[in-house]
Amino acid sequence: AVVAGGGWAAVCEKFRTARTLSAVESRKDPETEPYRSKYSARALLQEVKQLLSAAEEGGEARLVAVRRAVLEYELGVNHTDTEELSAGEEHLQRCTQLLEPHRLSPDCVSLYIQAQNNLGILWSERDEIKTAQTYLESAEALYNQYMKEDGNPPLDPSEHFMAEEEKLTDQERSKRFEKAYTHTLYYLAQVYQHLEMIEKAAQYCHTTLKRQLEYCGYYPVEWALNAATLSQYYLSKQCFMESRHCLAAASVIFSQAGQVPSAEDNESEQDQQDLRQRKAEIARCWIKYCLNLLQSARKLLEDNIGELDPDRQLELKAQRKKEEDEKEKGRKKAVLFGTSEICDSVLAMEEKVSSVYPLDFQEAREIFLVGQNYVQEAKEFFQVDGYVTDHIEIVQDHSALFKVLAFFEEDYERRCKMHKRRIDMLEPIYADLNPQYYLLISRQLQFELADTFYEMMDLKVAIGNRLEELDSHTIKKINSLAQLAIKYYELFLDSLRNPDKVFPEELEEDVLRPAMVAKFHIARLYGKLITSDSKKQLENMQTSLEYYTFLVDYCEKYPAAVRAVETELELSKEMVGLLPTRMERLRAKLCPFI
């Protein structure tokens, strides 16, 4: 032994005290002396180092080197904790130098990886992310090499200062080693994120989550939320299989949370409330999943006027048969969460909703219904009284689900009914909303209501076109839908006025396009109004012309706006050319004797 028997016990005792000071006591340090315990720990570590050097004579060289490395490691972490980075770096570097020749042996590998983890952290604090990356990637490589070549549970760094009888079990060793490696991966996830290697960062987050399930204690609720959040990343990349897997795992793991009795069984109202909220949050992630899947499918299937393209539909169905199964198998391996038991529950959860693009109404409807169920679940918590913004967002999603489902519906009457459902859910909310506090949402609702009425009117016109001649009922319907659309577009435009009710000279960037579209649609709507009274018709044409002209004039004055409304502008110019001639003709018909 390096230090004589009784002496060695005292050394170990000092070492242990230092660690306790650092990890436990330091949390209770007073505001005025934030590092008190860390400094005391440092002093003790220095003492142990002294004792070791004094005893180095005649000690076994390798053993001495490893114990020294442990101390250098502890001192390094201690200095970085107290914001003395360069001293910390020196100690950590010394640690890795001492271990270099032995880094693949079971008594050093874990310490070496942890030293590299800490060097990674240290360099990130100096804003040298690239340097941090090299340390962490090298830690990752070392772990993989060790697992391939040896794989036995390695010693934990703290064991070098333990009596023989205190040594850890293999199970505990393995747990600590895996945890250190999980941290390596988690730090790498952050490094990649800072380097804007987003895909890689996501992959490392995913792996971190996976390892949390496998190795270390995790909090079900927190884990579930993280998995649900990650699902949303996959959504933005249109990886529906991965997204669904994350969500299914989130739902399964979350359900464990309710079953675990808490420390004191009388959970506070606050905790209950939190749990309910989290559940609703996960439901909202599911809603987005269904919505995105439907919307992406629509994009694939629509022709250039936004209708379902039957040829494309057949083509995609044939293609799906061929490849889906193959592709999915390969990717699936990479992302699966959990051990067998969890895995089975997750798979069962996944089966409730498809992750491939729906290609016809039947398939779309199934996804829609799942989404709609989650809408109800989310609304149970996010009620309008207390959660205005959240509640409305959910209702907007619900409306969006109907909108995309309508795309798959071939029957115009039924399609119209779906849009009516949207009106029924949005109108009452809009009526109650105070725009002083909810201006943005209020505008969104105005615009969506206007667009929905506009769409319904178009459908009614299409239905009318199939009839021999328009009956008065249909005409009434078309006109009233058009008037309602106009009403909501005008409300939206009014919301842009300043307190003195003046419309802005130049529109803000964020409302430029919606404002222009509103003007353009109003112009079209006046053109669609059906009247047998020619004078009225002339008036409508005049109004229509005014709105088209607004667009043309505005874009002439502010050329930067052109890009936002190219199509609309082109049509407006055309109409500004055509309408006066048409109006002339109509006038001539009215007073043939001029």
């Binding site: 993280n226 969006a400 506090y437």
Partner: protein, 361 residues
């Protein structure tokens, strides 16, 4: 030429405090880390290149309390009388002069102190305007002012006007916007009374409390005045209501390790050690998404929730960023200025609220 409406963007006002008495600082390496170049630019002596920042207003060390009030708060208080919501934030590291700017010298409970800060002066001005309106309109117009004073500490909400209350909930109401459920609302009839309520609440703050962990021993305090006016005009009643929020944010230096309270002050890429912050890492991945429909589970902090309107809603908002000129504070000053620079990008649109009701007899 761009046509912009006064009060569209968040106004940012930077104030440089003088060094504490007895220390003489000279320009250059050892002493000062910044110089005020003009009334809206400031130069930070960073290496290798100095950095120039531009703000709506930069106040140098000689600036008086009166002048801070006039340039920052006067306009917001006036807007408040006209039915807008308004918010004034104070931001900066501990010791940069936040409390001095907002409240005045710490040793005075004296409302008439010549060095009193933005808040007491706002009270005076608000009630002065109310009195003036009343005189003008005679009996046709009446006002009701109420205030609440809450503290956000460790993501919990405490009522500073009711020290017995435990954590309160934030809720939203479809007509009234965001409110703290169960917070005491005290009716105010004068500026002196408002100041009294404020100082009483201020003493209840948990600043530097030792009972909880150190990292969070800082709190945000939000003092809110609701101004309601009722005007009768031949059988038509106009009711206006607006909020004035005065916010003292926690010292910015405390935000090193935590996900910044609300304002997302994400400085360069420090690695977070705690696995329990994995959620933040993932959230950031989702954040850079491409505008796709998605839901992020982690709700904003309580502060951003409470001030939803003030940050990109319908309010006139101003941030006073306080900085200390000493070289030792270089890092904090840089991050404060960076934060203030980013805040300027937040757009606000103010809308007047008028509920016109018919005869309510």
């Amino acid at each position: 030429y761009s046509f912009s409406v006064e009060g569209d963007a968040i106004k940012v006002y930077v104030r440089v405090r003088p060094p504490s008495e007895g220390t003489v600082l000279t320009d250059g390496d050892q002493g000062l880390c910044l110089s005020v170049l003009s009334s809206n630019t400031i130069r930070l002596h960073s290496k290798p290149e100095p950095k120039i920042f531009t703000f709506d207003y930069v106040a140098n060390m000689e600036t008086t309390q009166e002048s801070v009030f006039s340039s920052v708060a006067k306009n917001i208080v006036e807007s408040c009388m006209n039915g807008y919501n308004g918010t004034i934030f104070a931001y900066g590291q501990t010791g940069s002069g936040k409390t001095f700017t907002m409240m005045g010298p710490s040793d005075s409970d004296n409302f008439t102190h010549s060095l009193r800060g933005v808040i007491p002066r706002s009270f005076e001005y608000l009630f002065f305007l109310i009195e003036r309106e009343k005189e003008k309109a005679g009996s046709g117009k009446s006002f009701l002012c109420k205030c609440s004073f809450i503290e956000i500490y460790n993501e919990q909400i405490f009522d500073l006007l009711d020290s017995a209350s435990a954590g309160l909930f934030l809720r939203e109401h479809i007509k009234k916007g965001v409110f703290v459920d169960g917070a005491v609302e005290q009716v105010l009839s004068s500026a002196a009374e408002a100041y009294q309520v404020l100082t009483m609440g201020w003493r209840n703050r948990r600043v530097a409390s030792t009972s909880m962990n150190r990292e969070s021993s800082r709190s945000h305090a939000v003092f809110t005045i609701t101004v309601e006016s009722m005007e009768k005009n031949n059988e038509i009643v106009n009711i206006r209501s607006s909020l004035l929020n005065l916010v003292d944010l926690a010292g910015s230096e405390r935000q090193k390790d935590t996900h910044t309270e609300g304002l997302r002050l994400k400085e360069a890429g420090n690695i977070n050690r705690s696995l329990s912050c994995l959620g933040q890492v993932i959230t950031a991945l989702v954040d850079v998404g491409n505008g796709k429909q998605r839901h992020i589970c982690y709700r904003d902090s309580k502060l951003t929730f409470l001030l939803r309107d003030s940050l990109g809603g319908n309010a006139k908002t101003c941030i006073i960023a306080n900085v200390h000129p000493g070289s030792r504070c270089f890092g904090e000053t840089l991050s404060t200025l960076n934060f203030a620079q980013r805040a300027k990008l937040i757009k606000n649109k103010a809308v007047v609220n008028e509920d016109t009701q018919g005869d309510v007899s």
